[in-house]
């Protein structure tokens, strides 16, 4: 099977290769990395007939423009409300289509969302680090960041004409303003009033945001005790509060330990929707108990698996999955 080659005419900041992630290495300081919006990469891959965790390209609001130098290949785009132009035609970004030598493919921010995913019907030639092509942005290890002037090569490339057409955007892919959290694990550093403030007042996403985390703007969450805690492990979704009372939500490339207290931890299933927010967007935190958190995780997982299953088989989707 022939390959395909692309020149990168433009890559904004924070455009990188990502796959399902690098699990099991947090004990060595290595976070899982992988897509900021995990469901979206899985959807792009599944719509194209790839394994859900195959390497693809994560595109930030900085956008990406590629020129196909050789070959012909099917591709899928899912995640966020971006604008896709391929071969001169402008279309919605939830799409399976194809591109051939001489044509351009561009993705730029549209009406909503912060991240979109580009998957190819072929094998991306990218470096692997510790068994995964996911890029750890801070070190550049893994598949790597995309830079203007660089190239992307596919070792194999094929058209998948039978899969071409729009991908139905599930309601769950939309930006999420109301975030479920489980309080803790270091809530003891905060007084009752501070916890009430955290759960009843709005916070705003800021532009101090990257793959490691996003800083929030909102009421000060001053920790009560002196900040003398031993470093403890942290996770994607940890809401960490620095000594100045400012909260940061840790994301895909999070540090694995931290010496600041975590007032709460956002449920995994709400993080895909959280990262699709834009600076100035409002968020509210809603506390639930651990049992309810597990029940919610299971419901979301079932619904996502069912959506992917239908997408893989190109079956009509349930009404609940139609775009809102």
């Amino acid at each position: 099977m022939a390959g395909a080659l692309f020149r990168i005419l433009h890559a904004g900041p924070q455009v990188s290769v990502q796959d399902g992630g690098r699990r099991g290495l947090m004990r060595y300081g290595v976070p899982a990395s992988g897509p900021m919006d995990r469901a979206a990469l899985a959807i792009a891959n599944t719509a194209l007939g790839n394994p859900a965790d195959a390497p693809g390209i994560e595109v930030s609001r900085g956008g990406l423009t590629l020129e196909c130098l050789s070959g012909s290949v099917g591709f899928a785009v899912a995640g966020g409300g971006f604008i896709l132009e391929a071969g001169g035609a402008r279309q919605g970004s939830w799409q399976v289509a194809a591109i051939s030598a001489g044509q351009r493919l561009s993705l730029r921010p549209g009406p909503w969302g912060s991240w979109t995913y580009l998957a190819f019907a072929g094998k991306l030639e990218v470096p692997d680090w510790l068994g995964s092509a996911a890029t750890h942005a801070l070190s550049g290890l893994g598949g790597g960041m995309l830079a203007t002037g660089g190239q992307i090569a596919l070792a194999t490339a094929e058209r998948r004409a039978e899969r071409e057409g729009p991908i139905p955007c599930p309601v769950s892919a939309r930006p999420r303003h109301r975030l479920h959290v489980v309080i803790g694990p270091q809530e003891r550093f905060f007084g009752g009033d501070t916890l009430t403030t955290f759960l009843t007042r709005p916070f705003h996403v800021t532009d101090a945001a990257d793959r490691m985390g996003v800083r929030l703007r909102g009421p000060t969450l001053a920790p009560d005790a002196t900040l003398d805690m031993p470093s403890e492990p942290v996770l994607r979704g940890s809401v960490q509060v620095a000594g100045d009372g400012v909260a940061t939500v840790l994301l895909a490339d999070h540090q694995t330990t931290g010496g600041y207290p975590k007032i709460a931890t956002i449920l995994s299933a709400d993080l895909d929707g959280f990262v699709q927010l834009r600076p100035q967007d409002t968020v509210w935190f809603h506390a639930i108990g651990p049992e309810a958190a597990v029940a919610l995780a299971r419901r979301r997982q079932r619904s996502h698996a069912e959506y992917l299953g239908r997408l893989a088989l190109r079956q009509p989707l349930m009404p609940a999955f139609r775009p809102s």
Binding site: R23, G24, L25, M26, R27, Y28, G29, V30, P127, W129, L130, H136, L138, S139, L141, V181, V182, G184, P185, D228, M229, P230, S231, E232, P233, L235, G237, S238, Q255, T256, T257, G258, T265, I266, L267, S268, A269, P290, E291, A293, V294, L296, A297, R298, Q301
Partner: protein, 235 residues
């Protein structure tokens, strides 16, 4: 310690097991004991464990298990007699303390009231334990720095500090693996890679291993640094 261990739920998919509120060797030993027991007898749905100084984070798949079941499995492991300790490896790490390699040596000497040679001697005399990894890939926190060299971090971090820098703060020492900002004191440079770029053993240290430093001069550092370039991704 009364009241410990404490089991704290973390989101929908983890438990933080705390053995103390403040650092102690006893608490760290308990962390490593539970970490070993869990590696030997993982419960259904167990994903990964992250040891820190006084706590162990236990991550699980919420589709398979939940906090209560994970907690019960961990309590059962804690109730069993300790598994035999893993073989602790001893590592000797070469360090160059000369010239550009040790940007903060003079300042550390001034602040601690010692001569630069005495700072180097104290750093070399101590034996360190790999307490945990954290912050960034391969950042192994070595505990056991000599009290004579305990300094708080600098008020502000300095950017662009080279990989392989040997840095200290408080009782801790670290060999950096990436070019990164740091607020710790830079007292040397090592050609040793904690991110080894060797697939069979990608990380040089296991948590609990012992580390001692050996002094080398710039004449030895240069060739050692050159020999490791081009050996893989982990520059």
């Amino acid at each position: 310690m009364p009241g410990f261990p404490r089991f704290r739920p973390v989101a929908d998919h983890a438990l933080l097991v705390e053995f103390a509120d403040v650092s102690s060797e006893t608490a760290h030993a308990a962390v490593l004991r539970l970490d070993r027991a869990l590696a030997a007898h993982p419960f259904a749905g167990f994903a990964e464990a992250v040891p820190a100084t006084v706590s162990l984070l236990v991550d699980f798949d919420p589709v398979v298990t939940d906090h209560a079941a994970a907690c019960a499995a961990l309590r059962a492991l804690l109730a069993q007699p300790a598994a035999p300790g893993a073989e602790q490896q001893h590592h000797q790490v070469p360090v160059c303390y000369d010239g550009d390699c040790a940007a903060d040596l003079a300042e550390v000497a001034r602040l601690t009231g010692h001569s630069p040679d005495a700072v180097i001697a104290a750093h070399l005399a101590a034996e360190y334990t790999v307490a945990m990894y954290g912050f960034a890939p391969g950042y192994a926190y070595l505990a056991g720095g000599p009290p004579a060299l305990h300094l708080p971090r600098k008020p502000a971090a300095l950017r662009g500090i080279a990989a392989g820098s040997v840095i200290i703060a408080g009782a801790q020492c670290l060999i950096t693996t990436l070019t990164m900002p740091t607020g710790w004191w830079i007292i040397g440079r090592s050609p040793t890679r904690v991110l080894t770029a060797e697939p069979a053993r990608p990380f040089l240290f296991a948590v609990g291993d012992r580390v001692a430093f050996r002094r080398i001069g710039q004449a030895e550092l240069g060739p050692a640094l050159a020999a490791r370039t081009g050996k893989g991704a982990a520059a």
